[in-house]
């Protein structure tokens, strides 16, 4: 037990002083830019809770990838130089957590794309929020599914009923496209004082006012704009 406590003190000393760990870039605090991790965590939480797909944080993802690579190299370096294994293990755990965040963020987005394939390709707003590669993925995914539908069902049906998106030739709009439910309730917290319209424009202008730090359980549609501008976070 006593040895453990001493190790702890050593590690804290190491973390506090930058000169011990060889070079300023190896200081623990700056190893993984904490603000970027915070941003990633926020993007991840919002993405998980929102019923539709949100804007792709391209710059953040790129920075995160670079930093993860950098940390991985540093850790390899340490292992080869026989650095204190407990310290290495701490860095490794921190790296694992950040990698999980990044992977989960991309995964949640892919699942949403899969779920609302046709809607995302039809709605311009949704298409703008995808990254270049996600757009390619969505197109190919939709193609795969259409092909699967055609071979399993559609080509066996009579002619006017063979469309994937419309029920029949008579339908005026694409009525078989599932859309995200924007009316779902979400839990959110406000970062600033925000005043929002509860109803659509033109109807009774009741507003809800949120103070900084207030928690609200409210329909997603209402807070959608505020989330995009960063004033409100989903939990």
């Amino acid at each position: 037990m006593g040895i453990f406590k001493q190790r702890e003190r050593e590690i804290f000393d190491l973390m506090a002083s930058s000169s011990e760990v060889g070079g300023s870039s190896a200081d623990y605090e700056t190893m993984m830019s904490t603000s970027d991790v915070e941003l990633l965590k926020r993007a991840w939480r919002n993405e998980k809770a929102a019923p539709e797909i949100l804007q792709y944080e391209g710059a953040l993802v790129e920075r995160a990838k670079e930093q993860i690579e950098l940390v991985e190299e540093t850790i390899e370096d340490y292992v080869e130089n026989g650095k204190d294994p407990l310290l290495v293990s701490l860095y490794q755990m921190d790296l694992d957590r950040t990698q999980f965040l990044l992977r989960s963020y991309l995964r949640v987005r892919l699942v949403k794309i899969e779920k609302f394939m046709f809607h995302n390709l039809k709605s311009e707003e949704a298409e703008r929020r995808l990254s270049e590669q996600e757009r390619v993925f969505a197109t190919k995914c939709a193609d795969d599914l259409v092909k699967h539908f055609e071979e399993t069902v559609l080509l066996k049906l009579p002619e006017n009923y063979q469309s994937v998106l419309k029920q029949s030739q008579i339908s005026e709009v694409d009525d078989m496209v599932p859309q995200p439910h924007l009316d779902t309730f979400v839990v959110c917290r406000s970062n600033n004082f925000v005043s929002l319209n509860l109803y659509e424009e033109g109807e009774s202008p009741e507003t809800v006012e949120m103070e900084r730090g207030d928690l609200y359980f409210i329909r997603y549609k209402i807070v959608k704009g505020a989330i995009e501008s960063g004033q409100i976070d989903l939990i």
Binding site: M93, Q133, V136, K147, H148, K156, P158
Partner: protein, 201 residues
């Protein structure tokens, strides 16, 4: 009674456990498609009858019109049932790709039996799409599915894997029932396929 087969097809699907597939019910499926054909023929013959009587097919409202309408509605309902069946199964197939693995041969044989050859095609195509996305982004997305608590976990081997494992930091022989202390990211794919189990105590 029109539409009953479509309903039975969906009930068959819903009676399986959520997230699990039952074998593809080709019998009901084909019967529903036959019914669609029937509906279509009857509808067309009714419409032809109206044309022969010199009635405006779009706008006149007589018994034949309503008969044709019923056939049309039944056809649409059957189409929706059929597509819902295929769509929901496809959703589960995609889910399998995430949970178990991207190679068709990695799927346990009980699951492979329940998929039709068309569904297996779809699975392969979807895997290709996923792999190409992951390649472009440069990150593997089907590891690390659970938030990491400990970097190393204790596992027990359930199947005979022996030499088939590549680990990132050591090489060991994996005999059945042996226990090892592995890195979480290395062990995850094997746990997902049921070849190892995590020991939590």
């Amino acid at each position: 009674m029109y539409g009953r087969k479509g309903y039975q097809l969906l009930k068959d699907f819903a009676s399986g456990e959520k997230g699990q597939l039952k074998p593809f019910n080709s019998k009901l499926f084909d019967e529903t498609i036959e019914e669609c054909d029937q509906n279509h023929h009857l509808m067309q013959s009714l419409m032809r009858k109206m044309q022969q009587e010199d009635l405006d097919v779009q706008n006149s409202r007589n018994a034949d019109h309503y008969g044709a309408l019923i056939h049309h509605l039944s056809l649409m309902r059957n189409k929706r049932c059929l597509m819902a069946y295929v769509y929901n199964r496809a959703e589960i197939v995609r889910d399998l790709a995430w949970r178990v693995g991207l190679e068709l041969l990695d799927l346990p044989s009980e699951i492979q039996e329940k998929l039709t050859s068309l569904e297996k095609e779809y699975f392969k195509n979807h895997s290709v799409t996923l792999k190409s996305y992951m390649g472009k982004v440069g990150i593997e997305l089907n590891v690390d599915m659970v938030p990491p608590k400990d970097p190393y976990i204790k596992v027990r081997i359930l199947d005979d894997i022996d030499e088939g494992i590549v680990l990132s930091d050591k090489t060991t022989n994996f005999a059945r029932h042996s226990m090892h202390f592995l890195k979480r990211t290395d062990a995850e794919p094997y746990i997902a396929r049921g070849q190892m189990e995590e020991l939590t105590d």
